[in-house]
């Protein structure tokens, strides 16, 4: 069973939610968790929950990176749980890492200690998000990359993101030939400027990627593509927009229920459907987003992750190790060169 390093001190609810998540995983799977952080605080949480110590080891360190810290400054400190965990993976003590901590620090930490796969120029932070299922058997989650690791990209890098995202979806979502789309301002191949036009041309010619052309903003939440590629700035804006719209919808629904009795009754009638929608769009179900392009996998969990979300992130990380995702990316990248 793979060993997954888990940053116990990263995230808004750390270490409580993180350690509880690890404890849940230890009871239900054979995954070995190397929990990195303040041993005393980690043990204090473990004392109060059910866990299986046979699958848990602790790597002590005292420092932790705050969610609001400047990532560039934060990664200079060596004894933070994030950096100690990343180094443990780089040294072979664990095979992948999970953190709900500061996203920028996670990306910079990986860049500092992990080697990029051969042929890969830039790493990508991918995000898994819920979308409409248009075809039977389609995964209810799509992969959007990059969402912030590489702010501006060249065509070459967008092509590599497509290869990486496709390999990840093939291995993790078990989609034999994932549909890959390029996020653009129109479906025509001449749209979007020089870089996107060039990326489109090259992706069309790439046999290892099932390229379905440009996708527009409104296609993001539809089932047109399983993997959507874009530069980091655009991806981050798009992702936050999806999250924001979802949150506003819930907020509007809740306030509507308070205003009129008829609306409240209507919502009560729809409550089972709304609950199903909530489950469908619940980020805790998919646990976290991978940072792709390095020799080791890093799963970045949502900062507000609950124990359930952390548990799922650890399972996803173990799955990527078992399914040899970095190896698949390296193979496909080598074949595409």
């Amino acid at each position: 069973m793979p060993t997954i390093a888990v940053d116990a001190m990263g995230g808004d609810n750390a270490p409580d939610a993180v350690v509880r998540g690890v404890a849940q995983v230890s009871l239900t799977t054979d995954i070995e968790c190397l929990v990195v952080g303040d041993e005393r605080r980690i043990q204090a949480v473990l004392e109060g929950v059910s866990y299986n110590p046979e699958h848990i080891s602790i790597l002590h360190c005292r420092d932790a990176i705050g969610m609001a810290e400047d990532p560039r400054e934060a990664v200079k400190r060596r004894d933070t749980s994030l950096l100690v965990g990343i180094r443990a993976v780089a040294e072979g003590r664990a095979e992948a890492m999970v953190s709900a901590g500061n996203t920028g620090a996670c990306v910079l930490g990986c860049a500092k200690h992990f080697r990029l796969l051969r042929g890969i120029r830039r790493a990508a932070l991918a995000s898994v998000y819920p979308r409409q299922q248009e075809k039977p058997g389609q995964d209810r989650f799509a992969l959007l990359l990059d969402v912030g690791a590489t702010i501006r990209c060249e065509a070459d890098e967008l092509v590599q993101f497509a290869i990486m995202g496709s390999a990840y979806a093939r291995r993790v979502s078990k989609v034999a030939s994932p549909a890959v789309g390029l996020l653009n301002m129109g479906s025509e191949e001449t749209k979007g400027g020089e870089i996107l036009v060039e990326a489109h041309r090259r992706l069309r010619l790439l046999p290892s990627v099932n390229f379905v052309g440009n996708v527009e903003g409104n296609d993001l939440v539809r089932g047109k593509a399983d993997v959507i590629v874009c530069e980091g700035l655009l991806g981050n804006v798009a992702l936050k927009l999806i999250e924001g719209v979802s949150e506003v919808l819930y907020s509007v629904t809740s306030s509507a229920a308070e205003r009129r009795l008829a609306w409240r009754l209507g919502l009560r009638l729809l409550s089972r459907g709304i609950e199903r929608l909530r489950v469908l769009t619940d980020y805790t179900q998919y646990g976290g987003s991978p940072i792709l392009g390095f020799e080791h996998l890093f799963i970045k969990s949502h900062g507000r992750s609950t124990a359930h979300a952390i548990g799922n992130a650890v399972k996803v990380a173990a799955k990527t190790v078992r399914d040899r995702v970095p190896g698949e990316i390296a193979d496909v990248t080598a074949a595409a060169r």
Binding site: E32, E47, N52, P53, E54, I58, H60
Partner: protein, 356 residues
């Protein structure tokens, strides 16, 4: 079996006899009685079909042989709340596992049924406490006891009550209301009070081991003080016993080997188990360090220790110094009186009287 010793007047004082007392279901056997169907299946199960908890048979064999090597009189006793009707299957199972034992007591559930005492069928505190006291009266007055139970019933409570009664820390004036609060049969309360009055007073219960079969949070047992050691597997139990001197490291290695060979464990899982004991302060870092080489030599722990960097080693040493200060006291040292009201309040509040 009654333990007897003779001693020449000029010989050095021998070490006191050892009395190992074991619960059966969920401590020795992986009995299933969560549902009526599994309860019935357990009742009619053949000895060959009964499953023991990994490592337990090896641990009992090792405890017995280690005591004999040291020349200490030793007795292994089982106390089970199961009815005597399943006794033959249990005895056959113990024989199949080559477990040496000197006595086994079952609960006469039929007489409870006949008397219409249906509550007594599930209430085990009174029964077990009475049997523990009876066994004590049969043992040498200064025999040291190690008690083994699990987290399904109330073993930690029963064993702690027993330890405090015979230590003289819990007089009948305090014991009686506790038993009444647990709703022990008044006739049994009378028996327990009478037996307690006859027991030789002394701090004879050295350790109480609780097998965390249902993975109860170990923090729950802090209320019972450092005498109670909750363990997640019998390798952990063996490690504490080796550190206490009741086993040799080779015995602990044999228990670890049983887990590796027959229960799908890996050396990594065992080293994690050892680390967990240190973090919970049931094993001092020095004891764990002393145990590691023979365990490693026996192939029970990973061959190479994970090497920490120099600064991590220095930090580790500092932490160990701090931890030593709050580590478990030596076995046999005096134990602070337990707050049974708080324990019972907690059990009532959590509505998990069967968990601890």
């Amino acid at each position: 079996m009654r333990l007897r010793r003779t001693r020449r007047p000029d010989a050095p004082a021998p070490e006191p006899a050892l009395l190992y007392r074991w619960d059966l279901d969920k401590t020795y056997l992986r009995s299933e009685f969560d549902t009526l169907r599994s309860l019935l299946r357990t009742a009619f199960e053949k000895a060959e079909d009964k499953v023991d908890v990994p490592g337990v048979a090896e641990l009992i064999r090792s405890l017995k042989s280690a005591a004999e090597r040291r020349g200490r009189p030793v007795s292994v006793q089982f106390i089970s709340a199961s009815p005597p009707q399943i006794g033959s299957a249990i005895r056959k199972k113990l024989a199949l596992d080559r477990v040496p034992y000197d006595g086994i007591v079952f609960k006469d559930q039929l007489s409870n049924l006949k008397r219409g005492k249906l509550r007594n069928l599930r209430e085990h505190v009174g029964f077990k406490l009475a049997e523990l006291l009876r066994g004590r009266l049969d043992a040498p007055g200064d025999a040291r006891e190690l008690l083994f139970g699990d987290d399904w019933e109330s073993d930690s409570l029963i064993y702690s009550l027993y330890a405090d009664v015979i230590a003289g820390r819990l007089g009948v004036d305090r014991l009686t209301p506790i038993l009444q609060r647990i709703r022990v049969d008044p006739r049994l309360v009378e028996t327990i009070v009478a037996l307690a009055g006859r027991a030789v007073v002394g701090d004879f219960v050295v350790r109480i081991f609780i097998n965390l079969e249902r993975r109860s949070p170990p923090g729950v047992f802090r209320l019972f003080g450092p005498r109670v050691v909750p363990t997640f597997n019998y390798f952990q139990t063996a490690a504490v016993l080796a550190a206490d001197g009741y086993l040799d490291p080779e015995d602990a290695a044999r228990v670890g080997r049983a887990l590796l060979d027959a229960a799908g464990y890996t050396p990594r899982r065992l080293v994690n188990s050892l680390d967990d004991l240190v973090r919970r302060a049931h094993l001092t870092p020095a004891a764990a360090k002393a145990l590691a080489p023979p365990l490693r030599a026996a192939g029970v722990l990973p061959a190479t220790a994970v090497h920490a960097s120099r600064w991590q080693s220095a930090l580790g040493a500092l932490r160990r110094l701090r931890r030593r200060a709050r580590a478990t006291p030596e076995p046999g040292t005096s134990v602070a009186p337990l707050d049974y009201d708080a324990i019972l309040d907690r059990l009532a509040a959590r509505d998990t009287a069967t968990a601890v």
